[in-house]
Symmetry: C2
Subunit: 652 residues, 2 copies
């Protein structure tokens, strides 16, 4: 019952469609389509203005992602103004080893440069490990490329204006504030008490030559001299498990530093429900959870500022993309109504607060903006993700899946957009899985079954367990080779040698449960001491993927669509981005489509947060999504359970 | 050179004009015009709902003020909806002893009631000491009478709405905030973090029956159950010397309690310049001055809440009327640029802040609004005063004088409004006066020279010194009897027995300086141990009144007006309100007009603050004054000094 994605019906969708999205090279790039499995490593060397290596960064991405996106998602700035469409010819990098050449490369570079490895980063798909030299930024762009091939015209909420004012006299007694604002002709902000307290002193100490700092409609500070070059903000992806911070230079649209860490709320439970439960059991839990989130954000902010060499006082705004529960907890809002039917938020649009309200020590009046939420289980992180993927600005039929304990699903037919949430359980995060672990050193992240078991292990150390993408690979490969039948049951021991002679001896028992040994630390190791996939693990994954596929099946039906109508599947989130497209297709997590239509979209919540910091227009777009997207509640659908059972198996 | 105001030329102005203002009884009240001197005491007995006496309050006002205004300015609530124009017939009080009867009284009361002393409070001028019974409030008015006869339609910024919401369900998953706001059809406030933190808990604890608390555009709280009856705010007159707080029930427009105390900034100096200087000498002075102001406001807030029996958590807004320096200090803004040429404010319109920013422990999100200022020396207190006196809504030519160390002067011809400031020095506040003191127990506040010296002393105790109104009376009376000549010099000893035979022996010397003994503690007391008026005191007062009269003379000229064109003079401020009109005319502090045109306007800054709390429309009117009023800077006028010298003498 193995299924080769290349054999799938419905491949009536041309590569040109993908190219239009900018996620694949334009014609002429001639790179071979990848098979959607495994992981590639890109070793970036960032050069200084003299061309000398200034920094090294290695990143791992699913094959097929462009070099430009791989860099961008990891906070490495490459010149670009066109949004990765191969038209601005600015994203020049030098790649070690033979690399396909596009017609745009030929127009951009000399013969010698091409021989030296120069290519446009947006046109090179990473299908193998690459070493990439990144020249220093040469332009002060008016636009930046973020999200999934989204080009954003820079219009950040954080604005600075340097002014040299006339000094007051008896003939010109204008107060300080109108004197300052009168010199700024394109903005009319209001001043708060903080800035009025500083204004008289700073103006006179700086001989009336000052820089006004404006966030949105508010004048938040006046700084002596010209500080227009220091204009920073931090984008936070506030995940239940992992929190990612990107320090952005909003004046240039470039990321300065990226850092991530586990959410310090972990001791209260691995998922949102256990954390909500904690607040219901113990009145002290809410302030402690709030503090844990604040500590996480503060530690990351300190880290990115230190790594970027940026004074935290020059960070004037943060954007936070988090699910409804994470948002409530970091704001100190009781999450209990989110956790019990009928699942009610306090507000779809959290208020703009001060960064200091979140425990952050940045500029004292720095603002914190949150993304609005569609529902208790389709939160601000998903809205940010929709923004980053342009779900509302693409005429194609697209399916967006954020895979995690709670899985959010969005479908757009280019006209209507539907969203829902599916309770996938903790399988993808390593929870309830016998040898499950998070995607950390020692986790098996890629599995390929041949005559033996080929493992890719994070950190290239002794395998210790199985992370979400490894779990999906394991099940997909066992289904492919036939050791798991279509119902998800290990085949009887006596049939195994015929089906997979070299692997059959790995099928064994721990107690009453059948397991498949993925890694044996030494030849005589007992099964209990091995990294295994158990029958119960397979069941956990089946339930998770059934919940998810039931979700998108019902949404597609709601729009009158077939699976094959889906032109692109975006797999998002810190788990979804790392599941190999081929395995996702094979186990039925996503519709059975050619792997080229399955795109790893990266940390789209964080990308959306960056976009909101770079453009108030994009931010308004996030608010508009609240009106454009219809939330579909599945928990009261009478047909949900029937569909769920249909989706449990592994059908070819 | 004595001048009887009744003999003055230019009395072509009829009483009807005064009546229209509502400051004098309508025709028919038949009370005798007062002579503009002295003080009267009104003993109010406030009755409870059963008609039993619930509280006693005695107040002292210049004669001629109506019973209604005397009560209102002192925080005693009397029913009224018409603004004291004798038309609503609601302000019923019972007055002990014979009182003139107006035609409105005859229409309102039975013969028996009139015999029992019932009168309409707005039509009775207090020309003698009165005992007044005030019945409990019977109506929940839509308007209140505040300021100088201003009727304010109630539309406070503080609003409450009691709602009973549908409970959420899977079919109605609206978040808490839109659920609440959807039930309020006439307001669309925004919510801040504080209210979002409370919303989920309060809604569910109160079975979705709650009261929304809205200030301006902001939802600041949601309270369990129906609390619409508790809606309070505090009006502060933040004076350099004295601070007055009035706790207002903004739902009914009635004052609940009034308290006043000395500004705790006094140890830093008696006037604004010494306090600004303190901040220039010592960097610690600004925070200490800020704290002193905060402590003053906080102590008064506690006092009025306790006296009014009001939970401070139910106080949702405060309005602060203060001069530019007091405003800067309480907000912690460096006042130095206000104190040195060219006298620059940080902002004409201070920002709205939280009451907690001022150190007040009221509702945690209570707002504090400040009045805008016209200039460094025509501050928010004067704008509040202009609002309270309706300077921009009266077609008459009026002169408004707030007498103090810094004297503010406003002239309106019913079309244009001009304002200026005159540095009067500390004479009116008792400073630089040999026996000067503040208007506290033991201060001589009224002086009349006959064959002897008749003194009215605050607290009816042994005289200890001379307050501002006593100083003006002393000089005016000595000019009237001829012991001071028109240049302000005591006449020679040898002439005194002829001019004032019974008083001549009071003219004596302390050292080289001539003094007039006002009070001798015992027959053998040395002049040094007496309360005296010295030659230097007279000079101080001359300088002060010359500065002031130069100010209004120049403003009148600017508008092409003569003194006699002025139809009403409003004497305002804690000093100005207590100077007797006749004495003010006699020394030339105000234009030489019939005393009936000189009106004691009370604490108009505090009244303006009350108006701002009761009506957002009036508040907008205060902002409009910034555009309507032209500030005239006198310090660079070349003709100022010549005029000043002209004004020094006491001319008939």
């Amino acid at each position: 019952m193995t299924t080769d994605p290349a054999d799938l019906p419905g491949d009536d969708f041309s590569l040109d469609d993908v190219r239009r999205e900018g996620l694949l090279p334009a014609r002429g790039a001639e790179s071979a389509p990848h098979d959607g499995t495994g992981r590639v490593e890109l070793a970036f060397t960032i050069e200084d203005a003299d061309g000398a290596p200034a920094a090294q960064r290695s990143v791992r991405v699913p094959p097929g992602v462009t070099v430009f996106d791989s860099a961008s998602w990891n906070g490495i700035a490459i010149d670009s103004t066109c949004g990765g469409h191969g038209t601005c010819h600015k994203c020049k990098v030098r790649i070690d080893g033979p690399t396909p050449t596009s017609k745009h490369d030929v127009r951009t570079f000399t013969r010698q440069q091409l021989d030296d490895g120069w290519r446009l980063a947006c046109l090179v798909q990473a299908t193998r490990d690459l070493a990439v030299d990144v020249p220093p930024l040469t332009t002060r762009p008016k636009a930046a490329t973020v999200g999934v091939g989204r080009q954003v015209i820079l219009r950040p909420a954080v604005q600075k204006r340097y002014v040299e004012l006339d000094e007051p006299s008896l003939a010109d007694q204008r107060p300080d504030l109108p004197r300052l604002l009168g010199a700024i002709d394109d903005l009319a902000p209001t001043a708060d008490l903080h800035v009025l307290r500083r204004l008289p002193t700073v103006l006179r100490a700086a001989d009336f030559k000052v820089t006004a700092v404006i966030v949105d409609e508010d004048l938040i500070d006046v700084e002596p001299g010209d500080t227009t070059g220091q204009r920073y903000a931090i984008a936070f992806d506030l995940g239940t498990t992992t929190v990612v911070a990107t320090l952005m230079d909003v004046g240039t649209g470039t990321p300065v530093a990226v850092a991530s860490m586990l959410n310090k709320q972990q001791p209260f439970g691995g998922d949102v429900i256990t954390r909500i439960s904690a607040t219901m059991m113990d009145p002290e839990a809410l302030p402690r959870l709030q503090q844990a989130a604040a500590d996480t954000l503060a530690q990351l902010a300190t880290q990115v500022c230190r790594e970027g060499g940026v004074d935290p006082e020059h960070v004037y705004e943060v954007a936070v993309a988090g699910n409804a529960t994470m948002t409530a907890l970091v704001l100190g809002i009781d999450p209990e109504p989110l956790g019990v039917a009928p699942f009610i938020m306090s507000s779809a649009q959290p208020p703009t607060v001060l960064a200091s309200d979140l425990g952050l020590t940045l500029h004292p009046r720095a603002r914190a903006m949150f993304f609005p939420a569609l529902g208790a289980y389709v939160g601000g992180d998903i809205v940010a993700g929709m923004l980053a993927t342009g779900m509302d600005r693409d005429k194609r039929t697209r399916l967006f899946i954020d895979v995690g304990t709670n899985c959010e699903i969005v479908v757009s037919n280019g006209d209507r957009i539907l969203a829902t949430a599916a309770p996938a359980g903790p399988a993808f995060e390593g929870g309830a899985i016998r040898c499950g672990m998070r995607a950390a050193d020692g986790a098996i992240e890629v599995i390929r079954l041949t005559d033996t078991v080929d493992l890719t292990v994070i950190g290239e150390v002794e395998p210790k367990g199985l992370c979400g993408s490894g779990l999906v690979d394991a099940v997909a490969e066992l289904v492919r080779v036939g050791l798991l039948d279509s119902s998800g049951r290990f085949i009887p021991d006596e049939q195994a040698p015929d089906v997979a002679p070299k692997l059959a001896d790995r099928l064994t028992m721990i107690g009453q449960e059948r397991v498949f040994v993925l890694h044996r630390p030494h030849p005589d190791a007992e099964p209990e001491d091995c990294v295994v996939l158990s029958q119960r693990d397979v069941r956990e994954l089946q339930f998770a993927k059934a919940a998810i596929s039931t979700g998108w099946t019902l949404l597609l039906e709601e729009l009158g669509l077939e699976h094959r109508d889906v032109q692109q599947v975006l797999m998002a989130g810190s788990f979804g981005s790392y599941i190999s497209p081929a395995s996702a297709v094979r186990i039925g997590l996503v519709p059975k489509l050619p792997v080229l239509r399955i795109v790893s979209a990266g940390n789209v919540a964080g990308e959306g947060a960056k976009m909101a910091l770079l453009s108030i227009r994009e931010r308004a777009g996030a608010d508009a999504l609240l009106r454009e997207v219809t939330y579909v509640e599945l928990s009261d659908r009478t047909d949900f359970n029937d569909r769920f059972v249909d989706q449990l198996g592994f059908h070819g």
